[in-house]
Symmetry: none
DNA sequence: CATGAATGAGGCTTCATTCAT
DNA sequence: TATGAATGAAGCCTCATTCAT
């Protein structure tokens, strides 16, 4: 997907906001149109329908996440710094784009099989990006050889989501105040 | 919630199946009624409405999960065995009640604020149950004193979900074939 | 209609209360059953269905009204006393059976054509009863010979309803405090 | 309420027809849409829901009645002419807008308390308009000083409704053939 | 006789999508 | 290209009625 023009981007940003606020089914095309300051019909000039808009929004979010992740991580660092970077990046990304990420993370079930599949594929892509960092660290020798890098990425990713979701929704903490070190510590050193 | 009679249980089991298949919004009361082999009106004899049925189903799932978890874990074992037990239990529970757990794990966004809150509260309860196991292990000295047991529980829980979700939806593996040891290994020993 | 037994009467009295409170469509069979302290199914032992129960209730009310009217009016009195008697009786009947009369008066439109016709027929019967009093008074010479007794009855009846409805619903007056003399005065003496 | 455009008016006119035919509860939104030759959804573009449409229709009828009443009565006439004018107007209005008036007059019970209150308030407004005519006649000396003008208005109004309802539904007379003089005669001169 | 659990037809309402302007 | 008025399919829920006990 290439963003054709500013209006398409406006609609995507509006979609991110609205879908994030309400989830897929509770979001109305009218609300997205209002948020984007365009007419309802205009949405259909740029996107085939609601589910298409949702998918495009997911891709848009994904790209943004991965782009920013790539720019935010300094590969030369050691594994501990990399994990902390990823964790902090995840936190910062949540802080800046909370709505996007939450939408992306949570909208897996209450949508059609088709969209659900695409969502999983996107999530996979994201995990693969993290996996590649682990892989490099493994090759450089800073982590054990017998670690499956994908399992490791999933551990990190799943934990971060669980952790931040909890902090946000249950403990109502501010992002800047959340210290991801306990998680990184467990992943690095184990609990034993 | 106490289950008054068999029909109420039938409806709950049907609700679990249908909500799990389609998520909250895509599930139709008619479909749940069909699945339970009762008339549509009968649902309303037992539950005030769709959202009420969903909530009751969540509680029903939670209770089942926690009950079975408590029965499935032998507390006298060492921490490694406990983690493997929890992991295997999670896997077995997914195998037996895949639909329930997935519904419970994923329906967080596309629902009303009210239901979402309850869902988070239930998830919290579940994590607390796992936390208590970690706590005991910590007290018995089998894990480091500086570990936050809740962070540890979240790490385990988030990872297991991520891991199994991936195995099921992406890699299409059978539950009995999934070995959770790599995850337990990371959590126990770290990746370094 | 002859009232078979006490239970049938209980149901009719309950129907009067409930239909009066809520009108035809907002009254539920369950509520009538509760009010009569019988099971919902029992209603159908005595009445074919809701509309049948409504009709029977109307007849029951009508009979009660006419019976009480006949007993309450002393025919030997002069026309002024008769009109005041009818007015006061209407007032007292409203006081004692407000619910019945209001139901009877107002449920003309929001019901099926069939029931509506019966309601009109009942209303006609009621007006005819009043008409007969006017007729006697006309024959006894206490009112003008050129008065159409039915128009007179309708004037009285229509006015009383308008008057009492207004007092009850708009001015919230108590029945015993309502003096119908102004109406009787107008009908007797005119406004000129 | 200001009528925004022709379509809103079409819907209101359709609502008048349908509600009049069937009453509130037996009228279906689909039937109103069909009568107005619009889609069912269009009703909801103009009115929040069924009860809102009903209320707006009542106001629409009221305004129409009062407007036409004000234009149809020549205030300079004596009281007899005024009463005959009001009676004939009521008859003509019934002839032209039978459905509206009947709906307005009869839908008092089978509706929610909220709507019922509004209906009473509207009826009150209508009676007040008639009252004002009586008041003027009283001030001009053409009727007795001891007449309560509101009681008089209610007498006229209640009687006309009773009278015309009877003629239409029981005697099936045509409007143009109904002579309201007998009523006016009673009100003017009394029955004595 | 009496009951009330079970039923399903029917209606209000929502909202994604279309299309004339 | 941009719009938003119009649409109608679809779903939740109510409640009169039935019937097994």
């Amino acid at each position: 997907m290439t963003i054709k023009n500013q209006k398409e981007k406006d609609i995507l940003e509006a979609a991110v906001k609205v879908f994030s606020r309400n989830g897929y089914h509770s979001s109305k095309m009218q609300e997205i149109a209002d948020q984007a300051s365009v007419g309802k019909g205009t949405l259909y000039e740029y996107f085939k329908g609601k589910s298409h808009l949702f998918e495009e929004m997911m891709v848009y979010c994904m790209d943004k996440y991965i782009d920013e992740l790539k720019n935010g991580i300094n590969k030369s660092k050691n594994i501990e710094d990399i994990l902390m970077d990823i964790a902090r990046f995840h936190g910062k990304f949540l802080k800046d784009h909370l709505d996007m990420v939450q939408t992306f993370m949570n909208n897996t079930t209450n949508i059609s099989d088709d969209i659900r599949c695409k969502a999983f594929a996107h999530r996979e892509l994201l995990i693969n990006t993290i996996t590649s960092y682990i892989e490099e660290a493994k090759e450089s020798g800073s982590i054990r050889k017998d670690i499956d890098e994908k399992v490791c990425a999933m551990t990190l990713f799943g934990t971060l989501n669980q952790f931040y979701t909890n902090k946000i929704y249950i403990e109502k903490e501010e992002f800047q105040d959340i210290d991801p070190y306990p998680i990184v510590d467990i992943i690095l050193n184990g609990i034993k």
